[in-house]
Symmetry: C2
Subunit: 232 residues, 2 copies
Amino acid sequence: MPWLSHATHNEVVNQICDRIWLAVVQRSLRPGARLKEEDLAEIFGATRARVRQALSILEQDGLVSLVPNRGACIAEPDIGEAQDAFSARLCIEQRLVTRLCRMATQDHIATLRAHVASERAAHDRQDSEAMIRLSGEFHLLIAKLTGADLLMKILRTLTIRTSLITAMYQPQSTQSCGPDEHARILDAIEARDEGRARAEMAHHMQHLETDLHLDEGTIPVSQLHAALKPNP
Amino acid sequence: MPWLSHATHNEVVNQICDRIWLAVVQRSLRPGARLKEEDLAEIFGATRARVRQALSILEQDGLVSLVPNRGACIAEPDIGEAQDAFSARLCIEQRLVTRLCRMATQDHIATLRAHVASERAAHDRQDSEAMIRLSGEFHLLIAKLTGADLLMKILRTLTIRTSLITAMYQPQSTQSCGPDEHARILDAIEARDEGRARAEMAHHMQHLETDLHLDEGTIPVSQLHAALKPNP
DNA sequence: GTCAATTTTATTGTCAACAATGCAGACCGC
DNA sequence: GCGGTCTGCATTGTTGACAATAAAATTGAC
């Protein structure tokens, strides 16, 4: 079940989007990788029109960049865009936790606790796909529980952006944040401590961001290719 | 020049989006109004495929709702969605003015002052189309000056949403906010007073929101039809 | 041997005809 | 006369073929 499902769209299109996203966060599709419409169509057993729809959605989400008459490739966000994305997430997520502090019911807390438990389980059994999915879902779950539909939709695309950035700039080792920080955020929410919740969220975001190697040294793959003039 | 231009898309598509948006904010297209693809294609001298692209974009912006196999109509955001939209705008715009307080150059201030002057000019000559455009552009200009590309993109779609809401729930008289509140926000930015800037922005948003008649009494046109079983 | 112009090829963008779907009105049984 | 079903129509959704475009390869001149 694609957690980035743009609910309203065709099921096939969602699947294509999800698979591409997954390939990116799992690093089997590198930033800059070319995405040929016809190939994708064959891979997914879909028509080119469907693939095109999917690519258009992924472009809006910032996962692929779409150059007219040149086709699509996995986007290569630079340092500035990376900072922008985390900054935007922080802005929105701080508001969400604040709201949740005020309005969370016992059910909400329980739901979140159960989610963190799933995260920990996935973490323990080294299921990296589940870890990645659940880790992102935690933030979306907060948005969902506050009932802020719009902010949730926005946060979803931001999450997609940051997951690309993470795959691009983060060393293989630390695939995704452990569930501990999520638990701390949840503690603050349960204690109805808005200030602490905001601070924990800020800490979490900062952690995500500083774990990256955003120094100029990290050159995206495709730029490397262009720079080295490879002879395939 | 469409201020909601989704830069990267076809020019014709942008034009269609813009004209539909304009018709909505000018209240010549009511919420719930049906948008037949073929008609639009003829009106704009475009093919159905192009119209379809435009409608898809407008759906993402929340201006039209797109029901599978049933076609498109102008969206009818309810009270909850309206509050959500303003809440999201406030969240983002407060962050933007805060950033601008810290980083605004004299050039930035001058640009904004010039913009407010244009707004006032449009106001004085009762040019309602210019007023609407410029009024929205002020907020986007702030985003642009902070250099936050992402937040600007997000804010653009939020602005589209709120302009629909305004057209839907605001009495004809107060077509758009006068330039005075924008000037006050700008004053605070120039004084580098973050707190005041945030407060002025909050005040501005609240003003926009409370000017609406969000009471249940205001029933969208199409819902009225459905409720009254008209006999055309 | 290298550079520039030209042809070739691979890929995307566009379109117009066709298929599928849902809705309205007519028809039939009750 | 009322409820349900069935057919015809209006509208959207899909597809495959074709046109436009940019990159790559080839050729020819210097």
